[in-house]
């Protein structure tokens, strides 16, 4: 391509001009100290101007690479953040478990808790509006949580785990028509079965209480300890009133201590003797079948 004469004339003039001025500046710089510093200052200014511009261009062209690096760094930071969050939650969980254990020890007594281990779990889902309510907790078989373990809070019984996945477990809530637990009235020996019968989430019924058992309003209902799910003497509710059922048993209306609408963390109770107890119970069942 042939350039128009105007352009190559202009370029030629500029090159000659620049060359002559450069020679002059070199001569000036070599022959005077003051002028040398002034010329160098000017050269540095021009150099820094071009350096700044070229750096700006380089930075602009390198944006794609910088963007990729930032994204990688962002991903790494997110990963680190997640790890730290998990660590913090674990620490908080340990603290909370220690706090809840202390509360329970205060309520129940250390001797009653012997042979039981506790795992703190967070409630992921909690249904309240149906007659077959359930909870999902964030602990599963990976955490040693299996089915048929009791779930409580320091305020009372929550339910029993009926199924476990690797990371989550299904808890059949006490507020489920198919759920029942063995309890006792007061510190005495009046046993019964606590069942929720629908309606209010703060009320349940204690059935099959012996007629001769004394029932007073405000008596506390505790877990009996007759099942392998819960240790004895965990407070569950307070007696409100009672009626005679079929002339054979007392039926006690109980106000539940546990507020199911504000469940956040729960404790999974693991009975270390459960396997042995269950195996013995199985022998009994097999014996009955054989008969």
């Amino acid at each position: 391509m042939k350039l128009p004469p105007l352009i190559y004339n202009s370029i030629g003039k500029f090159l000659v001009f620049a060359a002559l001025e450069a020679v002059c500046l070199i001569l000036i710089a070599r022959n005077s100290t003051v002028q040398s510093s002034r010329v160098m200052e000017g050269v540095r200014t021009v150099y820094s101007f071009f350096w700044e511009k070229t750096t700006a261009v380089k930075n602009y062209t390198a944006l794609r690479h910088a963007n990729r690096n930032l994204m990688e760094e962002n991903a790494w930071l997110l990963e680190q953040n997640a790890k730290f969050r998990e660590y913090i939650v674990r620490l908080q969980g340990e603290d909370r478990l220690a706090e809840l254990s202390a509360q329970m020890s205060g309520n129940i007594g250390d001797s009653a808790l012997a042979g039981y281990s506790f795992t703190l779990a967070k409630v992921i889902k909690n249904t309240l509006g149906t007659t077959h309510n359930y909870l999902i907790i964030d602990k599963g078989t990976k955490d040693g949580v299996t089915e048929d373990l009791g779930v409580i809070t320091p305020s009372g019984v929550v339910g029993i785990i009926r199924a476990s996945g690797p990371r989550f477990s299904y808890v059949m809530s006490l507020l489920n028509l198919r759920q029942s637990i063995s309890v006792k009235l007061g510190r005495g020996s009046a046993l019964g079965t606590l069942k929720w019968e629908g309606g209010s989430i703060r009320k349940a019924c204690l059935t099959e209480v012996a007629l001769n058992a004394e029932v007073n309003k405000g008596d506390t209902v505790f877990t009996s300890g007759n099942s392998s799910f819960f240790p004895p003497d965990i407070p569950v509710g307070k007696a409100l009133s009672y009626t005679i059922e079929d002339g054979m048993y007392k039926r006690v209306e109980v106000e539940l201590l546990q507020d199911f609408s504000s469940l956040d963390h729960v404790i999974v109770i693991k009975n270390s003797d459960k396997r042995e107890i269950d195996s013995l119970s199985a022998i009994n069942a097999a014996y009955i079948e054989k008969k």
């Binding site: 002559l20 020679v23 002059c24 070199i26 001569l27």
Partner: protein, 169 residues
Amino acid sequence: MNTFKYIFGFMVILILQLLCSNFINLWPILYIAVIPLLVILLPPDINTCILMLCAFAIGLLTDALCDGILGLNAACCVLVAACRNMITRPMRRYDIQTEEMDLNYGEFRPGKLAMLLVASYLVFFVPYVIIDGPMGKGIAYLAFRIILNVIVNSLVAYLLVRLWIRRFF
């Protein structure tokens, strides 16, 4: 004959410049420079590159023969040469005989000539004062020195052109 007169005029201006530089010392901040006039008065149809080379040679010769900073006059003269076409463009007139834009300094009216000289000396003295000026002086000092030099030198150059040099160019 014209060429002889031109060279003679050239030599006169150069000698005048050497005399001014070496013997006339009116005031430390004032510098009488005649060589920009020489660059301006070089043939109007000369190529800019050659003009710049001539200006460089004139400036360097002056620097070498005077007690100054080597390269300073040369740098400023080259700048004047580079800007000469731009400065003189409004003053050129169309010659019907040659069908080209002509520049005849001898026929300039006083106002045009003064404008040409002031513009040329401004181009010459701005870099000259900036490079030559002592360190630590403010912009006001530099501006004062530039204005003073431009006015005095334009006046001197005007008188030279009107009274004497126009006979040679």
